[in-house]
């Protein structure tokens, strides 16, 4: 069951360059971000806004961007709408934002959020496979679940109980969460099988026999699970990367269910440690789940998630955070650690946290218009000076950037 960290192919050596992703959401992660002069709140629902953000991230040679999504309004409340009109509300479909941006970029990975709870794995499998085609091998997804009753009511197929924040750790809520995460694991399993349901050389165009495909190289996936069953094969041929990147965010929880989803199903897991001690514990917990799932030898990146306020001086960053908090009416809190300081200080922190076994970081810019350029033009050069970040894109697929091989097809006959 045990395996040393050093033996893992994805474990970072202290000299290995870091991987960096940035999480795109509205005008930024601080709820008052849209009030900043650099924000473009009237452009949030335009293609140009998203194209500019991803172009900036690509100029910074980042591995990928994630794009947040949800099937209901954003809310300051964990479980229900808050009825506020002073913050960004409303968003476009994340997969389609990624598709719109794909032809305009060349190297950066595109990882939209996908909600497993209310959508169809068959539709999402072909959508992400197609994103992989339109981006020539740069697609991924971030799988997410929702237990919000109001979002369930948008679909009308299932209902979830309302509960208070105080009940968050009660057995019924834990059971619901674990069930949704297990459903998400099934969802990812279906998506992955569908990606493999065509062998790479299934299209033969054999004029002599009149056959367009060799149908022996197409496979029914025959998935039967608790919440759904899917026959297959996909309507879309196997995508360029074979398996686009699968990722998920996992918080520590007594049931272990979030870590289990990351360990069983993903290529990249985002975790939220507050310090290096927690980072070590989280990495150990996920690796233990990985061993338990029989995936010990498979590469699995663990990225630390951090909200960042970056300025030339620590005081400036603090001052900006205070100003935004005042605009929002309350101090910003997050599930992830909130970093406030200079790019050099952030570089110090990332390199320290890396020692815990994190191979990269997903940074959540507090204000996209300000903190994204601070990452690409401040943090990235700082990490480059320290030999800890790439100086140019070494490959043009997302798996390639992350050092992940193109997987063999599970259905291909082994000779």
């Amino acid at each position: 069951m045990s395996s040393s960290l050093a033996s893992r192919s994805s474990s970072p050596r202290s000299s290995a360059p870091l991987h960096l992703a940035v999480a795109l959401d509205g005008a930024g992660w601080h709820p008052a971000a849209w009030r900043e002069a650099v924000a473009r709140p009237r452009d949030l629902f335009t293609a140009g806004y998203w194209a500019d953000l991803v172009a900036e991230a690509e100029r910074g040679l980042l591995d990928f961007v994630t794009i947040e999504d949800s099937l209901g309004f954003q809310s300051s409340h964990l479980l229900e709408p808050d009825g506020r009109t002073d913050q960004v509300r409303g968003r476009l479909d994340a997969v389609l934002i990624a598709a719109r941006v794909a032809p305009l970029t060349r190297n950066i990975g595109l990882v939209p959020t996908v909600v497993a709870t209310h959508t169809e794995p068959f539709h999402i499998s072909k959508a992400i496979a197609t994103l992989d085609y339109v981006s020539a091998g740069r697609a991924g997804l971030r799988v997410q679940v929702t237990r919000r009753p109001n979002e369930a009511a948008h679909f009308g197929r299932r209902t979830f109980p309302r509960f208070d924040l105080g009940e968050l750790h009660s057995p019924p809520v834990r059971e619901l969460t674990a069930d949704l995460l297990d459903e998400a694991a099934d969802y990812v399993e279906v998506v992955r099988r569908l990606w493999d349901s065509w062998e790479d050389d299934a299209e033969i165009r054999d004029v002599a026999t009149g056959r367009f495909i060799d149908r022996d190289k197409l496979h029914y996936i025959d998935f039967e699970g608790k919440h759904f069953s899917v026959k297959g094969p996909s309507i879309t041929p196997r995508p360029p990367q074979g398996q686009p990147l699968v990722s998920a965010l996992a918080h520590e929880e007594a049931t272990g269910a979030p870590f289990r989803l990351v360990a069983r199903s993903t290529d990249v897991g985002y975790v939220t440690p507050q310090d290096i001690g927690q980072a070590r514990a989280v990495v150990a917990a996920v690796r233990a789940e990985q061993d338990a799932a029989g995936r010990a030898e498979e590469p699995l990146h663990l990225f630390g998630d951090l909200v960042v306020f970056l300025d030339d001086t620590p005081a400036a960053a603090e001052g900006r955070r205070d100003r935004l908090d005042a605009l929002a009416g309350n101090a910003y809190t997050s599930d992830a650690r909130i970093f406030t300081g200079t790019p050099a200080q952030l570089a110090d922190l990332l390199l320290e946290l890396r020692e815990a076994g994190l191979s990269g970081f997903r940074l959540r810019p507090a204000v996209l218009g300000h903190d994204l350029p601070a990452i690409t033009r401040g943090l990235v050069p700082e990490l480059q000076r320290r030999g800890s970040f790439r100086n140019s894109y070494e490959t043009d697929t997302l798996r390639g950037l992350l050092g992940l091989a193109r997987p063999t097809n599970r259905y291909a006959a082994t000779a």
């Binding site: 849209w34 009030r35 900043e36 924000a39 709140p41 009237r42 335009t46 293609a47 949800s70 099937l71 209901g72 309004f73 009825g83 506020r84 009109t85 002073d86 509300r89 409303g90 968003r91 476009l92 479909d93 389609l96 598709a99 719109r100 941006v101 032809p103 305009l104 169809e120 539709h123 072909k126 959508a127 496979a129 197609t130 994103l131 085609y133 339109v134 109001n150 009511a153 948008h154 679909f155 009308g156 197929r157 065509w198 299209e203 165009r205 009149g210 367009f212 495909i213 060799d214 149908r215 197409l218 759904f228 069953s229 899917v230 026959k231 297959g232 309507i235 879309t236 041929p237 605009l327």
Partner: protein
């Protein structure tokens, strides 16, 4: 000149999963790589077409218990390709078929509203229903809707989607950085829909898109389909037919609009059409014959016959006479996932008619299938084809055409380069886009959220 010339609407259907597409031709390219879609879309936009059209399939077709392998197999996701195409075009409308049986209104409305935002107002939705439990095996909800209920669901699905689109008036996002008001109204997007098919409520989370709602297409020529289109659609994607039949269909459907308080120009009739062009009419006819023989191989002809006979005919010689056995009556179990199977409601009568025709004309299986299935709408020199299309439109047999080339992705190029300029010279087709949205190209009104016209009731 009593009447001004009608302006022709033209669209292009990306060739795909059907035996129209000649994949074996040396010039045939990928049907899946984005470069093919980008080439096709750029050609359509260069020719000032109204829109590009993408069909959809949700399960691979099967015949005799095995995946059908003689036509193009496989296609990308409709929404994802259309949205990516918005990045490589500026004006072209982006129309996709999306099924109402294996989707949910909230999600589809989000996707179309997102596509409309991300394309600057160029989205259109061809609303279809799925026909069998076979497709349902790929989805959570499975396949259990009886035929009549599928239609009920489609109507309520579209009505519900309209309620979601209309849940934003369009002035809610104020994003005033000074006052700190992002939304004018906390209830933006609020909706409640209670119906037989959908009982949903909440808040739609995509603000009103440039077109308000996507342009709505409806396919299908049944009486119920015509009524649905007259009440709720902006355009009908019909089948090409002879001039008089086209005129009759046109008159019938347009005649139904008044009872929904709609004008003649609020519903466009756009048949699908194929074309074969040559330097001369004779050369085009020769080329058309060649294309037909590529579209219908001996194996394809036998497989097609199995749709009617509902039994394995692989032992028959495609160059020989029609089978002497009778079709197997009842539900077609040999061909699954094909819409065309439904058109043979009385296989015994079809078989009898085909036998008589084959005997009278001394046709082999393959010759008969070529004669009965291939519909090459426009064959001739560019001048002939331009003239025919124009006659068809001026005579009110259609408002234009959705062209389906038989070569991927370059099959539209020759049409764009030769026929379009002739239509432009005649003054019946635009030389520049006059507006930016698909509604502008089609001459359709922008929907008014407060007084929606012609909505299907739920």
């Amino acid at each position: 000149m009593s009447k001004p010339l009608k302006q022709i609407h033209l669209a292009a259907h990306f060739p795909g999963v059907n035996n129209t597409t000649v994949w074996s031709a040396p010039e045939a390219g990928s049907h899946i790589e984005f470069s093919s879609f980008a080439h096709f879309a750029r050609t359509a936009e260069r020719a000032k077409f109204d829109f590009l059209f993408l069909a959809e399939g949700l399960r691979l077709r099967e015949q005799g218990g095995r995946i059908y392998d003689l036509d193009v197999v496989g296609r990308p996701d409709t929404f994802t390709v259309l949205t990516a195409l918005a990045a490589v075009t500026e004006h072209l409308g982006l129309t996709g078929t999306i099924n109402s049986t294996f989707n949910e209104p909230y999600e589809v409305a989000r996707q179309f509203a997102s596509l409309d935002h991300l394309s600057g107002g160029r989205a259109a939705w061809n609303v279809v229903t799925s026909w069998d439990a076979f497709t349902g095996q790929n989805f959570r909800r499975g396949g259990f809707l009886p035929q009549e209920e599928r239609y009920t669901r489609a109507k309520e699905f579209l009505a519900t989607a309209h309620e979601l689109f209309d849940s934003w008036r369009g002035d809610e996002v104020i994003a005033d950085q000074e006052t700190g008001a992002f939304l004018r109204d906390a209830k933006a997007g609020a909706f409640v829909h209670q119906g037989d098919q959908f009982d949903i409520s909440g808040q739609f989370n995509v603000p009103r898109s440039p077109q308000g709602r996507p342009v709505i297409f409806q396919a299908g020529a049944s009486d119920e389909g015509r009524e649905f289109a007259a009440s709720s659609a902006d355009a009908i994607f019909s089948r090409y037919s002879k001039l008089e039949e086209g005129q009759a269909f046109y008159q019938d459907v347009k005649g139904r609009l008044a009872r929904y308080g709609r004008r003649h120009d609020q519903l466009l009739i756009l048949p699908a059409a194929t074309f074969v062009l040559g330097d001369t009419d004779a050369e085009a006819r020769e080329l058309a014959h060649e294309v037909r023989s590529q579209q219908v191989s001996g194996a394809t002809a036998l497989k097609y016959l199995e749709h009617v006979w509902n039994r394995d005919l692989s032992a028959y010689d495609p160059d020989g006479p029609l089978p002497d056995v009778d079709p197997v009556p009842g539900e077609n179990t040999i061909a699954l996932g094909r819409a065309s199977v439904r058109q043979f409601r009385d296989p015994l009568a079809v078989a009898k008619e085909w036998r008589e025709r084959a005997e009278a004309k001394n046709l082999s299986i393959r010759e008969l299938v070529i004669e009965t299935t291939t519909r090459q709408s426009f064959i001739g020199s560019p001048a002939t084809v331009a003239e025919t299309i124009n006659e068809f439109v001026q005579a009110d047999a259609s408002d234009g055409f959705i062209l389906v080339p038989h070569i991927t992705p370059g099959g539209l190029d020759v049409f764009a380069d030769t026929v379009v300029p002739l239509l432009q010279e005649r003054g019946v087709f635009r030389t520049e886009y006059e507006g930016t949205t698909l509604r502008d190209h089609l001459g359709l009104d922008h929907p008014d959220a407060e007084a929606p016209a012609g909505r299907a009731s739920s």
